[in-house]
């Protein structure tokens, strides 16, 4: 029994850590594929994969609610809209877009240098000193490690921050997000009106040339 256990250990640790790595690689690969695709619908397909695996990364980062929101709103909503947009504006079947080689090389060069810049600055920061100021995991409110942030998220959208304030005597209460929640709804309303106006069929001819 012990022998079997030790023999299979690497395999299982691979599964264990590998699931997150799989999402990491899928995200990167699909993002690159979006850039390289020449067909808009294929771009959309790779974008779906990229954003879907980003949702997987959200799950791995203990942001369960966000992961689900990403899947529902982003992948299931926004991207469907994009694909609809592609189909409504397609001027021919399987529309192709050609990028001239020179342009591609230039874009690739600039992209790699930008990535290099970001990788050497952002990704090499020694983050620990800042992380030392850990958020107060208030009593009973599950800290982010447990993946249970849904209730805390909901409370913060109501303007309450029990995760910060509970059991603490803060002079200034933690930032609640009641205002953006309400204001964003007004924004969505305005935007919907605008989008509906623009997408509606023309009701009459354009005014005579200006």
């Amino acid at each position: 029994m012990e022998i079997v256990k030790s023999a299979l250990e690497p395999l299982f640790s691979l599964i264990h850590a590998g699931s997150v790595w799989a999402f990491v690689l899928a995200t990167i690969g699909a993002a690159v594929a979006v850039v390289l695709s020449q067909n808009v619908v294929r771009m959309a397909f790779w974008l779906i994969i990229a954003l879907g695996s980003t949702a997987g990364l959200f799950f791995a980062l203990d942001a369960d609610f966000l992961g689900a929101a990403q899947l529902l709103v982003y992948v299931g909503g926004t991207l469907v809209l994009l694909v609809f947009g592609v189909m409504l504006t397609a001027s021919g079947p399987f529309m192709q877009m050609k990028t001239s080689p020179g342009e591609g090389v230039l874009a690739g060069f600039i992209g790699f240098s930008l990535l290099g810049l970001l990788a050497t600055s952002v990704c090499t920061v020694a983050w620990d000193p800042h992380g030392a100021v850990a958020p107060i995991a208030a009593a009973g409110y599950n800290p982010a490690e447990e993946g249970n942030t849904t209730r805390a998220l909901g409370m913060s959208l109501l303007g309450l921050r029990p995760d910060k304030d509970l059991g603490q005597e803060n002079a200034r209460p933690g930032t609640g997000y009641l205002l953006p929640f309400e204001v964003a709804s007004v924004h969505l309303l305005v935007v919907l009106v605008g989008a509906a106006y623009l997408a509606r069929a023309k009701r009459r001819q354009a005014p005579p040339a200006l």
């Binding site: 640790s13 369960d64 899947l71 529902l72 009593a139 249970n148």
Partner: protein, 420 residues
Amino acid sequence: MTPLFAAGSIAGFLKEHDFSDAWSSGLAAIVHAFLIINFFAVAPLIYIWLERKVAGRIQDRLGPTRVGGKFGWLQTLADGVKLIQKEDLCPESADSMLFRMAPYLVFVASFGAFIALPWSDGWVAQNLDVGLFFMLAVMSLEVIGVILAGYSSGSKWSLFGGMREAAQVVSYEIPMAICALVPVVVAGTLNMVDIGRMQAGWLTNWLVLHDPFTFLAFWVYFTVATASVKRAPFDLAEAESELVAGFHTEYSGIRWSYFFMAEYGSMFAVSAIATVLFLGGWHLGVPLLEESGLYQTAGGVFIAHLIGLGVFIFKGCALVFVQMWVRWTLPRLRIDQVMTSCLKYLLPISCFLLLGIASWPLAIHCLKGRTVLFGEPLGEKVYRTSQPTIRPVQSARQPGAMHEKKIGERGEGSLSSWRS
């Protein structure tokens, strides 16, 4: 804490016996994946047979009778074998990469929803805190596969069918999510296991009988869910008897069968959600098991859960049966009627139900002086969980802190067990 026949509990069980983290969670994941994929593969076989039988009986004929004995048990299996043998065709004018990928997308989306589905008390692959939201989210991805299938076939019938279907499914998602929120407001959690546990005991604890709004929400939810899995009478986009088969016109062989497996999988998934949200989940409706003392021993608990599993699957299948019954009874709606009934009727109704369920406690409060008729009010529940005495304070982000947690603690079955 009862032992859970789930990833979390398997992992916990193994950890108790000196298995490493990687071992326990990896093995648990494999066991679960195996169980679910088998259910997912076998259920459609039965459903397709059932559908034929139901159709036959409703139309006053016998349905399949030959393959596999008197009732034609093996009819679907024979069909499956036929489909697997068929050539995997890809039309010349199709975008072959997308054409080949689309069925997998649909299949994965439908299959993924089962991750968060509780089969019995705690028998769930991933006890996600946002279980219901996750299921709805994953099932909403199916539509992308449908659009891509329609587009990439390179045929205008497929494209029309795909677009219609996508418009329909995207629209029906909204009232479906809102209706699903109605019992969530009552329960105060998105966790499917918790919602299920709330309905233990007598039939009156089932959320469908909780108040008038949940009662109405159940019917609306079921209607909308039928539409969102593209079943008749809302299946004009692929009405095989009038139009060509919609987005999967060009598909054949095994890829075509993926679409069908996904369709039947989704049928069961939405029915199962309805079961958990409204119909008491795995509970019998009479506290027989609780009274019988089955929960006193570990083995008894297992048997109780096994009975729960049976009850759950029975309820889910019963709802699927209703969907079939409706299909062979009602005539199809026109596509514009499909859209109008969603946007002009079902959506406002579901919004009204959500508003109603939100103000219901207020009304009760005015009449009876408390916010719920029975049980514990949500606000108090939140307040209780936020009391420092209930749970020990977790020391903030100590590496490895979560592995030292006691087995069976809530949230332990969540994704965190295979993290880090």
